[in-house]
Symmetry: C2
Subunit: 343 residues, 2 copies
């Protein structure tokens, strides 16, 4: 493999101690020696062995992400890739490694315990929190710093999280549709076991209630967010005796499905039926090339990943930091998919 510290030291006629100190910026080494060491290290392409270093320091300089695969749905969250990309950027900038554990949700707890007991990581990221998520209590007990991407309603112990303001976001979107004169507004949501979906529904209901409109269960759908789901939900909604004139989608890909359902029966988004979607700003799913195709509540999940990673590293470097939170607001971008209610 690579050169070892010992070899490097020998080639310089110095002790490993001095070389180590020179490279790690300790004061007790002559400036000329330090320079000599630095040059030699570069020339030999010396990189300290990760395992040895972390064994000696007690820190692994790595963080873990546990990705749950729902055994019932076998689905991988599409936002995962962009979140990881953002987080990975922050990690590599800080010189941290990222280790990923992909596990069926039944083995999630074991996965967390494993990573902690084996000392593989200094911190953990929790993805896809559900309502009353057990993992938070578990991680609290395990004692390693962790960040949650999202929140978990019903959990009492304080914890660190980063989330978007799902509730306000969907309230805002609903109000926007109400202002356009819509009163029959459908919500095509994600799986409601997920915390974010519940919050979105709450925001939607908030707005309806404020407007004095009674919610209609027939207008509220929930499922794993795919295009065919959006399509089917759209078709069913349009076939209702009193169909909605506006629809709220929980993701861009669901909105694609809704649009297909509309155009299939000759309806045009924005003119005949309004559609607003949440847009995670996924790199491979841009909201139009130049102008936005959908009116959307927009928030970059990549930025979220970057920020969440930075927060996690802050927690790792200062364990006394206590729970830290960050709530990101979304911005409402106007596209062609919304318009006045013409009924």
């Amino acid at each position: 493999m690579g050169v070892t510290l010992k070899e490097l030291a020998a080639s310089l006629g110095l002790s490993p101690t001095t070389v180590s100190r020179a490279l790690n910026g300790y004061p007790e080494v002559n400036i000329k020696t330090r320079q000599r060491v630095a040059d030699a290290a570069r020339a030999a392409n010396y990189h300290p062995n990760t395992r040895a270093k972390s064994l000696a320091t007690g820190q692994s300089r790595a963080v873990g992400h546990v990705i749950p695969i729902s055994t019932s749905h076998e689905i991988v969250n599409p936002i995962f890739a962009d979140f990881i990309a953002g987080a990975g950027e922050a990690y590599s900038r800080a010189g941290y490694d990222m280790v990923l554990s992909v596990v069926p949700d039944a083995e999630e707890e074991a996965a967390y315990r494993n990573l902690v007991a084996r000392g593989t990581v200094d911190g953990l990221m929790v993805h896809g929190p559900r309502l009353h998520d057990d993992r938070i209590g578990l991680l609290h007990d395990l004692g390693l710093p962790f960040m949650v991407h999202g929140r978990s309603s019903g959990v009492n112990t304080p914890y660190s999280w980063l989330d978007i303001n799902n509730r306000r976001s969907f309230r805002r979107a609903t109000e926007f549709l109400l202002d356009l004169g819509h009163t029959r507004i459908a919500l095509v949501n994600g799986l409601e076991g997920m915390d974010f979906a519940m919050r979105r529904r709450t925001g939607y209901l908030d707005a309806l209630e404020a407007a004095g409109i009674a919610p209609d269960r027939a207008l509220m759908r929930t499922a794993e967010m795919t295009e065919p789901y959006g399509h089917q939900a759209g078709r069913e909604l349009l076939r209702l005796p009193d169909p909605p004139t506006a629809m709220l989608a929980s993701s861009m890909i669901v909105a694609y499905g809704l649009r297909r359902a509309l155009t299939e029966v000759g309806l045009q988004p924005g003119r005949d039926v309004s559609v607003i979607t949440h847009d995670d700003d996924l790199s491979y799913m841009p909201n139009g090339l130049d102008v936005p195709q959908f009116t959307a509540t927009c928030s970059s999940v990549r930025d979220a990943g970057r920020k969440a990673a930075e927060m996690l590293l802050a927690l790792v470097n200062d364990p006394d930091l206590g729970p830290i939170n960050h709530l990101m607001e979304t911005r409402l971008v106007l596209g062609d998919s919304t318009g006045r209610n013409r009924l």
Copy 2:
């Protein structure tokens, strides 16, 4: 953190040596002692420290995936999540960790060198190979086992890869369209710097040539695979003086865009214009709920991840294994998006 071997040994009145051997299945330990140790280890939730173990054995029991982020496009490959999910499954089953390095493509080489020099991983996975990809030569020199997901034309040194038969797959799809009477067939491809895109184009051209049809540059598009790209490409193709009657899409999401372009001008996929797409069988992008919405060349990228990971582990465990390859055929599934040429 967790219990250490030394502590466990002390609590049992045994030496660390014996405990280590008992846990690792060495023969020179009494069956009763072994049992006693196993019980105690389970009771104490003992897991050997990753770093110490790998330092002692010289193996990290981890593999690295370097994910390049194109600095020009800033795009994360959408198939990445499912591939990782498949690979991760194989790794955790084998007791290996997966470490991810997300880096701008300019720093890719440094990332590989780093992982190797620091001894962080025992093997590497290469994603998104381009034509004449430098990384293969680099990894060859670095001497660590590696697998390429895809291939790289123009590379002479032998290497291990897993790929789908892109060429035959697109030749087959094109022939299918030719059999339906289509002669003006468009190819809406991915970025042609990518090896897979080049192969698909070749398969497409093979079929045209065999049918005695001269390729038309106006019918061949290439870009990053997004829905808006598919939409735009579809619009432009339909506006040609002599528009295509069939289209080949490089991914499901591009096909969504094509379909939008068709329906926008009142054309129906399958009846008026035929569309075939490649389908990576992404979990969040199913090809219809019950019946396939698109005729597609289908191959699960998740299975590919699983298989590629298994191959990489085989290489890690037997360095003399030499280059191993696996070529997966796609299956053509029939959907509603194709039909006879009615012109």
